[in-house]
Structure formats: C-alpha cells, structure tokens
Symmetry: C3
Subunit: 350 residues, 3 copies
C-alpha cells in the first residue's frame, strides 16, 4: 500500500508510542506485511520465529516488540504491538471513499426528514418522512431509511442498507452493504389450517459504536425493541431475531444466529456459525465456540462448545473419548467373553 503521504520513523514512533532504533529520519510512505511490503513501507513482526523472513522483506523499517533483539532494518520498538499496527495502518490508510456532503441528485429525501450538518446522502438513497439523520453521517448509494427512523451522528451506512420504519441507530455506527435492520420478526400462530402472522409493531434499537457486517439481518420486535448494545461488533451474514437483547461489547462472528427473545449479556462472544435457541440467556462473558449450538442458559464467563453445547472442557474430554469409542467397543466385547469364560469355569467347579 502506498499513498502520497510520508512520515519519518520518528513521527511514527511518536504516533505509536514507541522508540526508534536506527535512522529516525527514514521516510515511510506505506505499510505492508513481511512479504507484501515494498520499498518505503514499514512492516511489523511479532514473533521471533519470523525474524528470518525479515531479511527477505523489501520493507524500509519494522515495528517490533521492545524485547525483540537486533534487526537489520531501522525499527520502532513498541510496548503494545496490536495498537502499534492499528496505528500505522490507520496513518497510511487511504481515505474511505463515499458520497460528497449534501444530497446526491438521484437521492430522494422527504421534506419532513431532518438531516444534520455535514450529512452525505449518496445516489439513489431514500430518506422517508420524519426520519432523522445526525451530523456527519454518510449514507452510501442505495441506502433506504424508512419513515420515522433515526440514525445518529458520525455513522456510515454502506450501499443498499435497509433501515425500516421507526428503528433507532446510535452514534458512530457502521453498517456494511446489503444488511437489513428492522424486517418483520418471524412469528406465526397456527390455527384454522394455516400459519397466521403475528404483527410485529416494535422496532430495532442499536447503541453507539456498533458495527454490523454485510448481508446481516436484525429483525424488529413484536412489541418494544430488539436491542444491540453499544460497542457490539457483528460480522457478515448474521441473524439477530425479534426481541433479542444483545449486551454491550459483544462479538458475533460470521453466520451466527441468535433466535427470538434470547438475551446475551455484555461481552458475550459467539464464534462463526454458532447458534442459540430462543428464549435463553447467555450471561456476561460467555464464549461459544464456532459451529456450536446453545440450547439452554449459560452462566457468566463459561466457555461452551458442541451441539448441544456443553462446557468446552467437557466437550473436549468427550470428543477425546469419542476418538476411542470404536476401541472401547472391541475391548468391551473382549472383556465380555473373558467374563463368560470365568463364569463357565466357576460353574464347572462347584
């Protein structure tokens, strides 16, 4: 990655809170991995086992942990590598493209909708009656904001995101393309020989600093709100059903499904493709392994795994036993015949 921006190694050290070792005037114009970095780029290396690869890299400088040892390249010694890498990636990131401030010619904004200062409304966007869009929010091309919906400040809704009527979105929220907020929940009652739709007159309420991936769906509640707590990050193709309450700072990885009226406490983590049944509670800090299926309440801080999900240590112990199950079958058969022999022998000697 190369941009037209240059920083000296000294400036980078200041940015990431690190110490320069080597030529502090080295000019850096981008960031790359050990293998993708080009001349002028800074790279990073966390584990000493990759040190040899550094010699082949075309990078001009390197971020390393403070205890890394000598490097052939000018280096910045960093106390916190994760933050340092985020820092340099952010410093050289090309600007995120998007529509210009104002309303694009093909967009339709209802006269009663309220747009804050600095709002950017892209092509083919629709903002319906009485909707409110906060300051500096960006609506990329094709976004739909339903009547009476509210989007906070400094949000970014990517292309074709649909936010249906009366839903509420906080500040600094990012929603990736083609996701749907506030579709009707999936609820029916069967009588008179057919499924009758339960009206879903509620909404979706999303806190601040939430991120939702592409092609994800958060359904509106029957009554009240489906809630996504502040700071929660949701990946692509995730389903959050009606009346679910997701706590703060949760992580819902790709293709997760949370069934209706289930509650996730703060800091819950669901691995990719994990699912929960409806009407249960996963208390704060619960971690669900990828591809697992949670069928009942889980106490705070527990890690679960499997289908049905159980304590992950138990799951791993059981899985290990499973590995030995075919052996157990033959051992048991062998043992049975030996017991049979002993019994026969015992009967023969009265």
């Amino acid at each position: 990655m190369a941009t037209s921006k240059f920083l000296t190694l000294a400036e980078i050290a200041e940015l990431v809170g690190g110490q320069v070792r080597g030529d502090a005037t080295t000019n850096i114009s981008g960031v790359g991995t050990l293998t993708s970095a080009r001349q002028g780029d800074i790279t990073w290396i966390v584990h000493k086992r990759y040190a040899a690869q550094l010699e082949q890299s075309r990078a001009s400088a390197v971020l390393v942990p403070t205890d890394f040892g000598p490097t052939a390249l000018p280096a910045v010694l960093c106390k916190d590598m994760e933050r340092a890498v985020i820092g340099v990636l952010g410093a050289f990131a090309p600007p995120v493209p998007g529509p210009a401030t104002g309303v694009a010619p093909t967009a339709r904004v209802a006269p009663s909708a309220v747009l804050g200062n600095g709002v950017a409304v892209g092509e083919h966007v629709i903002v319906e009656a009485d909707a409110r869009i906060g300051d500096n929010t960006v609506l990329h091309a094709g976004v739909f904001i339903g009547p009476e919906a509210a989007v906070g400040c400094d949000c970014r809704l990517w292309n074709n995101v649909v936010v249906r009527e009366r839903c509420e979105i906080g500040n600094r929220v990012i929603i990736h393309p083609n996701s749907v907020i506030g579709a009707d929940g999936y609820g029916y009652e069967f009588y008179e020989g057919r499924h009758h739709r339960v009206p879903h007159v509620g909404r979706v309420t999303i806190g601040d600093d939430v991120e939702i991936g592409a092609c994800s769906t958060v359904d509106r509640s029957k009554v009240g709100s489906t809630i996504i707590g502040s700071g929660t990050k949701i990946d692509n193709l995730v389903q959050v059903a009606h009346n679910v309450k997701v706590g703060e700072n949760c992580l819902l990885c790709a293709q997760v499904g949370v069934a209706g009226s289930t509650t996730l406490g703060d800091g819950v983590v669901l691995g990719g493709q994990a699912g929960t049944r409806d009407n249960i509670v996963l208390h704060a800090g619960v971690m669900v392994a990828a591809c697992s299926c949670v069928g009942q309440d889980v106490p705070a801080g527990i890690k679960v795994m499997g289908m049905p999900a159980v304590d992950s240590r138990r799951f791993l112990r059981e899985s290990a036993s499973m590995r030995r199950l075919p052996d157990l079958v033959s051992q048991l058969r062998d043992l049975a015949s030996r017991v049979q022999e002993l019994e026969t022998a015992a009967n023969d000697k009265p």
Copy 2:
C-alpha cells in the same frame, strides 16, 4: 406503542371473542408487554406465575385466559390467548409504510409490463418487459422484477428484492428486503480441467400466502421449477437450492439450507441453521431440530436431530450417554483390571 386510535374494552372483547370483566368502557389506545406497557395500553398474561408482575405494570387493562382468576385491572377473558394477542396487536398496529399507489418518478416500468389495479411501484423499482404485477401489490423502493416474471395480487415485496426472469409468485406473498428469487442454481460438471456451468433454464414457482425473510435465496431450477408451496413461511438468510420442492405450510427458520432436488412434504419444520443434503425426501410433518444436518430420507411425522440427524429420542439418549463416556472409559479400565485379577487367581488354583 401508542396510536391515535382508541377502542373500548368492550370493543376489544368483541374483536378477540372474549368476555369483559370490570369496566367495559375503559379506553385502550395501544398494546404493550407487562414491562413496556404505558397507561392506556392493554397488556397480556398467559401464565399465573407472571400474575405478580401485573401489579407493577402501568397497563390499563389485560388479556388473560378464561381460568386465570381475579386481576387488579379490568380484563378480557380469552379462550384462545394466541389469537387474542394477534388480534390486539393487529388492531393497534401502525399502518405499514410503503410507496403510494402508482409508479414513482424514478421507477422504470417496461411498456409491455402489465400492472393490475392499485399497484404501488416505489422509487428506483424496475419492472422489465412482459412482467405482470397483480392488483394491489406493493413493490418497495429498489425492487427488480425481471422479464416475463409474474407477481400475484396483494403481494408486498420489500426493498431491493430481486425476482429474476420468468419466475412466478402467487397471491398475498411477502418477501423481505434484499432477498433473491431465481438466481442460477449451483451446478457444474468437471471436465477438460475445469468446472462447466450447467445451464439453468428453469424458474422458481412460489404459491399463495408464502412469506420469505430478508437476505434469503431461492434458486431457479435446471429444468422445470423450484417450488415453494402455499402457506410456507421462510425466515432470513435461508438457502433453497435449485429443483427443491417445498410443500405447503412448511416453516424454514433462519439460516436453514435445503440442498438441490430435495423434497419437503407439507408441514415440514426445519429449525434454525438446519441443513439437508441433496436429492432426499423429508416426508410430511417431519421436524428437524436447529443446527441439525439431515443426510437421508425421513419418514412422515418423525422428529430428527444431530449431525447426521437421527430420531431425536435416540439423539438425546446418545447425547446423555456421551455425557457419561469419560466415566465409561474409566469404568471399563477398572473392570478390565478386575477381570485380569480374577483370571490370574483362577489360573493360580488349577
């Protein structure tokens, strides 16, 4: 939820087929749960164990089952609570917003397309040549109807739904945002060192009263039709592959996948994230538990669970055994050493 509409308790009782107990002139203006209801709202309570919560509720009246016992609030005694709740939710539901009848200025309707009476075509909608849209159907902003496709009467297609060429949709069908009907099926033959696409010249045929969630996909068939039977309800992020036949009144919960050419009988229920392999038959009334994976035909009325899915009672018995498997391993080891001892003892006394 509050609207500008008022009903007396007597009117509500008539609506839901119930009996008033208390002041029948009480004015009701909305519906809420025990905790969300505000003054003027009616709430509902099904189980006596929630009776205490009723005392804290700000609701002005309550729906209860006929045998519920005394309540502090004016009540409507209901024989069928599920229908009664649907009734009051529907009575106070705000109108579903949507485009006005007629064709929005930015929509493009081909001259050869046929629109019925009362059709509403939203902004940026495209209706291609020879497509037909039935009376009173609503196409929300951004919908695409391909050439020669047919949509019945009283349908509602939400934003950005794509219906490709020649697909057929019945009456009173609802499709939620960003779903895709009639994309090419996933079929290839491998020869000459690469995968060759199998042409998919078929279509999708959807019956009456079907509902399909957001971001779901129903693929067109190779020849003939992929079929969704009348009354079937499909949730979000569901995949229905090419040449699948789904019966009537089925329920396909979120993230379900039905693989190619598989047949589901009437009334089949697939729990969330359940999957089926291709070319199998799940006969009428089969129920598949969430997160399960069906690998072979299932006879009518059976409940299955697991991966691979087996009869659910068997699955639960096996899972319970799994819980004891680590114990079994140690029991078996103990038993083996005891048998060994007995054998040694027996050999020592010839």
Copy 3:
C-alpha cells in the same frame, strides 16, 4: 421449456458428439425432464431403472448412454451424458436478459471511469472514479462499482452487487444478486474497555472464470488481498473472510464460512454449511462434508467430516459406535455386576 428455435436430431447429435438412432430428421424445440418434457422436447435418461418412465414421457426424443439398449423414442447415443445434457440445455436456453449495451439513463458513470467496448450498464448502476470495466461486461441494474475497482472482460454482475474500492475482478466472472465484494474485514483489538477496529487497507482479488452466488460476502484484507483463485465456484450466502486465500477450481457450497487468513489449496470442496476456523490450511483436494467444522490443517486429498472434523472414515466409524453407545452402557453395567458376583464367589472360597 420451448423456444422458437428448432434443431433436427442430427444437428443435436453433432452438437453433443453422439449418434442418432431412429429418425434423424425429428425436429426438436426444447428440453425437459422425463416428467416435464412436452411434445417437441428432447429429454435424457442416464440409468436403466428409469427406462419405464420413458414410456410415459411426452418427449419426442431422448439422450441416452451408448450402452442403454433400445428405446421407443428416437434417441441420441452419448458417450458423455453430463456434457450432452449441458449441450442441449445450452442450445435451447433462452437468452439471458440484461441491460442493453451502453449506459442506461439512470446510471451514473464517473468521467474518469473507463468502460471497454460492448459494456452494458443497467439502470441505477454506479461506476465510481477511476474504475475500469472490461469489454462486453454486463452490469445489471443497481450494481455499484467503487473507485479504482477493476472488473475484467465478459463478466456479468447481477443486480445490486457491491464491489468496493480498489477490488480486482478477472475475466468471465459471474456474481449473483446482492453479493458484496470488499467490505471491511472483521478485525478488532480490545483495549481501553472497548473493541478498536483494525483498519483494512487491502482489497479483494478474484481470478478468471469465478462464479459467486447470491447474498455472498468476500471481505477485503487488512493488507494485501483476499484471493479467490481462477475457476472457483461459490454458492449463495457464503462468507469468505479477510485475508483468506482460496485456490483454483474450488467449490464452496451454500452457507459455507471460511474464517480469516485461512488458505484453501486448489480443488478444495466444502459442502453446504461447512465452516473452517481461522489461520489454517486445507491442502489441495481436501473435501469437507456438509455441516462440518474444520479446526486444524488438513493434508492434501483427505476427506473430513464432523464437528470437530476428522477423517470421514473415522467419523463414520465413530458415529456407528455412537449408535451403540446406549447399549454399551447397559452391557457395561451388566458386566460389572457379573464381575462383582465372580469376585464375591472367589472371596467366599478361600
């Protein structure tokens, strides 16, 4: 399926490399399955067990394998049935509809974007600054091509596909509706009490002859590219995470999820709903069964199954043992009591 096109059986035989048996002048105007074929259609039959059904078919001719035996209908004997069926389906396939060559009136193409010869840009399409679209590529209505993105020649991007900035797509690539290429990867570091987004400054690079289904997502990398190798076919609702490398000619069936930085070798096949963890390698030719969850590297050519996925033969053996587990529990209990008796007897006779 009937079109206005006619081919004689002799022409069809030439097309599919087969031999006519019966009247070579028979006119054929379409293709159908045994049950859906109408008069004038050709059908096909692979297995002799379906021969009886041929007698009920209204088809006018049939494709059969060379060793099939006599048929009541005029036939074309084919050495390779799969190719022959693809051939006739393709011959009678109605033309794929799409926008006309040129730029539709409601589309917006940036002045600095470069369109090749014969490009078709549909209604409401947006092509941003410095994007490049190769010759004869078709962008259906509602497609979004971000700044500096590049799409090759002879591609077809269906409705509402979003290709974000700087992503690169090869030649002859098909992407089905509502899929998203190049959304930000899902990466955060937790410090100071909240999740911090890791900037994703990379892109997505898609090879030639790739096909991607509807509502699928391929995320951009942190640095460098998320890569989809040439000839790979991806189904609907699939997630390919940031920094993943997918080899050539892979098959990713519906609802598959590949987690971050994982590598798939050439020819890897992932069955429907299968998932992989992050940072692992599935070497060339690995096959993962549907609904399975791969947690570690898999050597080339191995078939795996289960959660966690193990060698599929082992999985099947273990599953079979599982079926017997409840029996084992009772056998073990029985055996324990018999050993107890033997021990008691042995102690009684000192």
